[in-house]
Amino acid sequence: MKVKVKLYAMLTNRTKKTERGAPVEIELPEGESVMGLLNRLKLSVDEVRMIYVNGRSRQLDWQLRDGDEVGLFPPVGGG
């Protein structure tokens, strides 16, 4: 299956595969979890604080589906 991944803020510096926030298509085995996606991107759990799948906040064990859009953010905040 294929999912689109968007990396934001400092996370982009870690992969060098993508521009900030630009969706990149990634091929994953059927039923892969968000955790599996992070492993594939060589991102550690500590680096990722916010996980969005199709605009909904999800956890590491969330199972991805074909066509999902995933947004990943490091610990950041503002106001």
Binding site: R20, G21, G55, P75, V76, G78
Partner: protein
């Protein structure tokens, strides 16, 4: 310590000892208490019976990290209720060091002349010296032109509080401006129209010179130092607040992409929760844009002395010269996504104009949003939006309507979709996609105010625990606790952003309380933080009720209850009884 009472009707002052009842108060706790004690809730906010109160926080002026906030309070011309709006600036440090716990400004002169007050430290008398000086020469001008004249007149070591033309015109959208560390007019107690209250008293500036002033008195120095260290360590360690962390690198505008991803970035006057131009105006784009224009990575700076977080950004022009500081998330959103504008240069120019004229950026963007909805200009037309802010600054008839704020301008222009509560325009979080912040908007004593109970921590950022932003469940309790803790935090003089660190790092929270105990000689615990915060909220709410604001004002705008918001297509579905359970019984 003193309370400095200024009477503008005859230009006299009194330095009074701090009454016992005020001894342990500071910042918001003190401004709100004085407003409750001294202001008839039914008075006209711009009439002679409103009072304007300035108060540094409990720890302001000391070595406590990130603590140079000043609270300003009065009855608000925007909401008709009580108002506290705070800013970070060296001005609050000056006032605290001159042992002034609060400045209370009463009445108005009979003649239509403006005045300024100069407060300096008289080392011989060991007390502040107060002078009244004519200020008519500074009226009607761009604050970026006026501030350098004040520095030239009084010397570089001064700090300034004041108003721009928005306050002179009596706009319900007018802030009180303070200097930043470069001496520019950029730090605002923006919300609630307090600039026009200062203007109604014909007070243009309060200039402070604290040279030679003593240290702020500290009852238990060892405990205070221990608290400072614990808090500083937490701020230096937490990913959001540490040097080169999220806030120092990307500024508050890092939230643009996050809220957009969550479907909660209000776009084109709250029509949708996603803006296609978000990546172009986000904190990441500001960082990258500056890198290209300046030729190196630019990290952010402090708005005030002693800040560890340093989140204030600067946007640079094509040629590498400074355009404006600071493009905050709120301003970036209100003048960007909310108006369908994805051009950072245009957004920066609008922020600069708000600073120059003395306007609140949130209220300005909210007002232009309803103006676009009414067809005054087209969403996305940045040039026209800039022209309209000039009209506000020039005081043309249309400009005066727009200067009245989101709710009033929306009514005049026949708009149904007015995103405001208690007359105050909503900030940058869509309550239909982030339900807890809607609970805060509805119930806050301040009108729609994100800072007064920042549930975004839990709902979006995963700070202090994580909850689903789209669910209405449990949001009343989260909002109430945060509103109480914030009322206390706003009293300490700390910046609200220390919350990111102290909600996640227990020793940071301990240090925060120990600092206050060290200064005051109190024995406050974490429980007292909530208790003291609730007491402040109780007073503020009682003022509002006496001013005529009842349960029916603790509500979301009607359109948010029947109009689903894309992309999640939720309405605001927190029941009215739940809203009534938040603060009514505190």
């Amino acid at each position: 310590m003193w309370i400095l009472k200024i009477n503008m009707s005859d230009k006299t002052y009194k330095l009074e000892d701090v009454p016992n009842a005020y001894k342990n108060l500071g910042g918001r706790g003190l401004t709100s208490t004085i407003v409750c004690d001294e202001v008839n809730p039914l008075c006209h906010p711009l009439g002679p019976n409103n009072v304007l109160v300035f108060a540094p926080g409990i720890v302001t002026g000391t070595d406590a990290p990130t603590s140079a906030r000043v609270s300003v309070g009065a009855k608000s011309p925007l909401t008709g209720g009580i108002k506290e709006s705070n800013a970070g600036t060296s001005w609050s440090v000056d006032v605290a060091r001159m042992k002034i716990k609060a400045i209370v400004v009463y009445s108005q002169p009979k003649e239509d002349k403006y005045w300024m007050i100069h407060i300096s430290w008289d080392a011989k008398e060991e007390r502040p010296k107060i002078e009244f000086l004519p200020a008519d020469e500074y009226i009607g001008s761009d604050l970026y032109a006026v501030f350098p004249k004040i520095y030239e007149r009084f010397g570089k070591g001064i700090s300034i509080a004041g108003i721009g033309v928005a306050g002179e015109y009596g706009y319900a959208n007018s802030g009180i401006v303070f200097n930043d560390l470069k001496g520019q007019p950029t730090r605002y107690s923006g919300r609630g129209g307090l600039g026009s209250v200062m203007g109604s008293k014909r007070l243009k500036f309060i200039v402070t010179s604290a040279q030679g002033a003593p240290e702020v008195p500290i009852v238990d120095k060892a405990l205070f130092d221990q608290g400072c260290e614990k808090l500083a360590n937490a701020l230096r360690t937490h990913d959001i607040t540490k040097p080169k962390g999220g806030l120092n690198t990307y500024g508050t505008a890092v939230l643009i992409n996050i809220l957009n991803e969550a479907g909660g970035l209000p776009t084109r006057n709250f029509k949708t929760g996603r803006f296609e131009g978000a990546p172009k105006i986000a904190g990441e784009a500001i960082f990258e844009g500056n890198k290209t224009r300046v030729g190196k990575e630019v990290y952010n700076h402090a708005c005030s002395p002693g800040c560890i977080i340093q989140c204030s950004n600067t946007w640079y022009k094509q040629d590498g010269r400074e355009h404006v500081s600071c493009v905050e998330y709120e301003s970036d959103w209100s003048l960007g996504a909310n108006l369908g504008i994805d051009n950072l240069d245009q957004i920066a120019e609008m922020v600069r104009l708000c600073n120059a004229y003395g306007l609140d950026t949130i209220e300005t963007g909210g007002t232009l949003g309803v103006a676009a909805e009414a067809g005054i200009f087209k969403f996305g037309d940045g040039e026209k939006a800039i022209e309209l802010i000039h009209e506000i600054g020039k005081g043309t008839p249309l400009g005066r309507i727009l200067g009245s704020g989101t709710a009033s301008a929306g009514r005049v222009l026949g708009v149904v979709r007015i995103p405001a509560v208690k007359g105050q325009g909503m900030p940058a979080y869509e309550p239909r996609a982030v339900k807890g912040i809607g609970v805060t908007y509805a119930t806050s004593t301040m009108g729609a105010d994100h800072t007064s109970g920042y549930t975004i921590n839990n709902e979006i950022l995963g700070v202090g625990g994580k909850v689903d932003p789209l669910s209405p469940e449990g949001k009343a309790a989260i909002s109430r606790n945060l509103q109480a803790a914030t009322a206390f935090l706003d009293s300490t003089g700390h910046c609200l952003f220390i919350a990111f660190a102290i909600l996640d790092i227990p020793s940071g929270f301990e240090g925060f309380v120990e600092e206050c105990n060290g200064i005051l000689g109190t024995n406050w615990t974490a429980e007292d933080v909530i208790k003291i915060g609730l007491e402040i909220l109780r007073k503020e709410r009682a003022f509002n009720v006496a001013a005529g604001l009842n349960d029916s004002h603790d509500r979301m705008p009607e359109f948010m209850k029947y109009e689903p918001l894309p992309p999640h297509n939720h309405t605001f579905d927190v029941p009215d009884e739940v809203l009534d359970s938040v603060l009514k019984t505190v």
